[in-house]
């Protein structure tokens, strides 16, 4: 299955000219603001939970509830109440209470997601996992045992003294929780060579829609695999056992700048064709470079049309250097200027720059629509050129960056809703999606579907597969109480303009 996995480019429908629904895609829709706020009366579920869990673990005031209505892209519906469980037992209590009250449940980590996954689409109970932060390392078995609220980076920090590392590295890893990473099957630059979050899961514990606790491993039916990337729509992941690996002994970093985005993409295709398997291979265009440079002042090439940032790594220095030389040669033959990072500090600052791209775009325009397309590497240069040309033709500010090594690109349309037409933004987004599909790509690489990509999902999945996904959903959550309005469009919900 896993039609939306990173790097997968399986077939898609090619129906054209469909316009995504506004509210599902835009940041800050004003349609859902302030329902039920200001009312002094506590929701019966809030009363019930305060009694069951104690007031310390339940938020009921209007201001506090509002704080749990959004993620890093979408403003959602204010929850009827928020529970802050400290154990799986607390989660069970909360789920059973919500079930009895007939209130939907939305799981939430640090709300750094980019698809609206943690933003409720209707009045709900939000379960915030930020207090479930137990973490232990088993160095002999090379495992980390984590509760859902553990900060992603904390896993590697705890593993490092044992000579171990947890490779998945989403840009928000200082903020994001492992529960959210599991729910979205998060990726990051390291995932090109080392795999995404789901590839590190040995076992999961989750609470189902009835409040029953399940412990899953990867054998027999891979039910853990089903929960990974399910965005809280099949169950609430409470704990996980993660595989740790040993960090590479040597890492080398280079930065290459190119006159045009197309040349940068060509260099990627030819480096990989030549046999290089970089640990990380990232791309950003001129507007991205300048937005980051305004923030960090690390000396990135402001005049370049595009740049690549590359790590090669391994335990054999000679091989690492050889791979870097392959990448370097590919960059130069595509017209790139190459600079190697001289020190670890310089490399670290370049990677901090890369992690800052997405939020730094806020410096250009206050709002954006982000895309998360994955296309075959053989067509990368055509795709980035076509996307760039669409941006120019539209008159809107369009930027591109992404994990280009595995064909995962994030075209972002940046706009100011006070002065620019949201219709035009939607039209451009749709054109970009069509480019990806026409070249055999898919529409979501790593951010998840959430509510933002729901319409894209409707286009990308054939009706038979969608019906099968709904069967799975109904088997585990027949009442549709878990994160409703996410991941799965209703059959026939796709718009046919």
């Amino acid at each position: 299955m896993n039609i939306f996995g990173r790097g997968k480019t399986s077939g898609n429908t090619s129906r054209e000219n469909r316009r995504p629904e506004k509210d599902g895609l835009m940041t800050d829709p004003r349609t859902h603001t302030r329902p039920s706020e200001g009312s002094a009366q506590m929701h019966p579920l809030a009363t019930e939970l305060t009694h069951a869990l104690g007031s310390r673990k339940v938020l009921v005031s209007a201001g506090e509830r509002r704080m749990y209505s959004y993620d890093a892209i979408q403003m959602g519906v204010v929850p009827v109440c928020v529970a802050l469980p400290e154990s799986t037992a607390d989660v069970v209590l909360a789920v059973k209470a919500a079930r009895a009250a007939g209130i939907p449940i939305v799981g939430r980590g640090a709300a750094s997601g980019l698809s609206g996954g943690a933003a409720p689409t209707q009045p709900s109970l939000v379960l915030s996992f930020t207090r479930m932060t137990e973490l232990s390392i088993d160095p002999v078995r090379r495992e980390a045992h984590v509760q859902a609220g553990v900060i992603t980076l904390a896993i590697s920090e705890a593993a490092r003294p044992h000579g171990l590392v947890y490779p998945p590295d989403p840009a928000s890893f200082r903020t994001s929780t492992i529960g959210g990473n599991l729910a979205e099957n998060a990726g990051g630059p390291m995932c090109f060579k080392y795999g995404v979050t789901g590839d590190y899961v040995k076992a999961l514990e989750f609470v189902d829609a009835d409040g029953e606790v399940h412990r899953l491993t990867r054998d027999a039916y891979d039910l853990a695999g089903l929960l990974i990337g399910s965005e809280g729509t099949l169950g609430l992941i409470t704990e996980a056992t993660l595989r740790l690996s040993t960090p590479a002994k040597f890492t080398r970093t280079l930065m290459s700048s190119f006159p045009t985005v197309g040349q940068a993409a060509e260099a990627v295709s030819s480096a990989i064709a030549a046999g290089a398997v970089p640990a990380k291979l990232e791309f950003m265009d001129q507007a991205c470079v300048n937005a980051i440079e305004d923030y960090l002042h690390v000396g990135l090439p402001r005049d370049a049309g595009a740049m690549l940032l590359v790590d090669t790594d391994g335990d054999d220095l000679e091989t690492v250097e050889e791979e870097l030389a392959l990448v370097e040669a590919a960059c130069q033959s595509s017209g790139g200027t190459v600079r190697r990072a001289a020190t670890d500090t310089e490399a670290a600052s370049l990677w901090q720059a890369r992690r800052s791209v997405s939020p730094a775009l806020g410096r250009i325009r206050p709002q954006r629509m982000n895309e998360d397309i994955v296309v075959p590497r053989s067509v990368l240069s055509e795709v980035v050129r076509e996307v760039e040309a669409l941006g120019v033709a539209s008159g809107l500010k369009l930027v591109q960056f992404g994990h280009i090594g595995d064909g995962n690109l994030h075209p972002n349309i940046l706009f100011d809703p006070r002065t620019e037409s949201e219709e035009a933004v939607h039209a451009l987004a749709q054109q970009i999606a069509s480019v990806a599909i026409r070249h055999g790509g898919v529409l979501s690489g790593e951010h998840g579907i959430g509510s933002m990509k729901l319409e894209f999902m409707a286009e990308a999945v054939d009706p038979v597969t969608l019906a099968c996904l709904w069967d799975v959903k109904r088997a585990l959550d027949p009442q549709e109480r878990l994160n409703p309005g996410k991941v799965l469009p209703r059959p026939g919900e796709a718009r046919h303009d």
């Binding site: 706020e37 509002r66 993620d71 802050l84």
Partner: protein, 427 residues
Amino acid sequence: MKNEIALHHPDAQGLLMAHAVDACVHCGFCLPACPTYQVLGDEMDSPRGRIILMKEVLEGGLPLFEATPHLDRCLGCVGCVTACPSGVPYGELITSFRGWSEPQRSRPVIQRLTRAAVLTMLPRPALFRVGANVGRFAKPLAPLLPQALRAPLDLLPNTVQPAQPLPEFTPAQGVRRGRVSFLSGCAQQVLTPNFNAATVRVLSRNGVEVLIPPAQGCCGAAAMHTGARPLALEQAWRNLNAFAPDEVDAIVSNAAGCGAGLKEYPMLLAGEGAANEVRAETLAAKVRDISVYLAELSADGGLEPFMPTSRPIKVAYHDACHLAHAQGVKAEPRALIRSIPGVTLAEVRQGDLCCGSAGTYNIEQPDLANQLGDLKAKNVIATGADYVVSGNVGCHTQLQSHLARLGSPIKVLHTIELLDLAYRGEL
């Protein structure tokens, strides 16, 4: 973030707040940089949460009282500004918001009295000295007093050091290389008089004339950050009239909070008339932290050589928030410390995190201030350093008090005191 703040508040301060909220893309990169989010772990006690709370209140969607408990917990350390890729001027937002909201709030009597007492005494060294002397004798009674009165007593020194009055003019030694005006601060004249004396000695030794305009007063940062905008404006006027930025190379401050306060005058005076806005800009542009001024001097012909230390010494540098985050000054003090022969520099773990002092925070949020102070002291102790130095009187007092509580022998100094001791061969 889309907002309608400007519609509800079309004045200069309202536009300032609207622009700050505009810039926020609610990505959450600020969360790990926020001391209160680190301690409490709840969204409403994070910068992102607070920005949205302020937006909601300003738009009329949320009553002020729903937001104030969480806004009051903000230290104003602006660690989030350093962490913010999209460039949200959070410091301007919270300061302007506090100035706007304070007049609408009704605080308990004891809180109002403490606030008034602090804002009256801090800026007046003579009065503060009397207060500190009286408070010293009240210290043994502290356990009997309510928390609101215990916290300010905690901050007072056990012994009040004699005043060290400084001349209005100190000539340069040797060839004259520069001429600066010095902001002598207020509370630190009583709490740590050696900071200023050491500053003048080091500047003069390096060929810099030091003017201390007698008409100057408190920079107004404490008033500004607690929402007492009229008082802050009054204090700013006094300094705008006392300092003549065109006649000196720099206006030097040795207190991170005060230097940052002077640099905030353009924000404070926004909407007070175009000519005044220009005056504020001109003054702010001349403000340098002592470490930055010395680093510039060092780059432009070097500093007088330091005496080597008598034995190898390890110095931990503590980043004051109002230097590292508010003014972006991190490299200069480190370079100065490293330049003393025999000194090695140690970094403090979680160095970006506030020590919990933050102006009047110790008094108004003693529990959080204590938790953060304890965390900071433990991280400092873990460096195994002989000295910990910082560039701010508030951090200095907080470090002293929490290191002492943990029984640590680590000595606390201002960066300039360390340099001064090195010149005197006393390290």
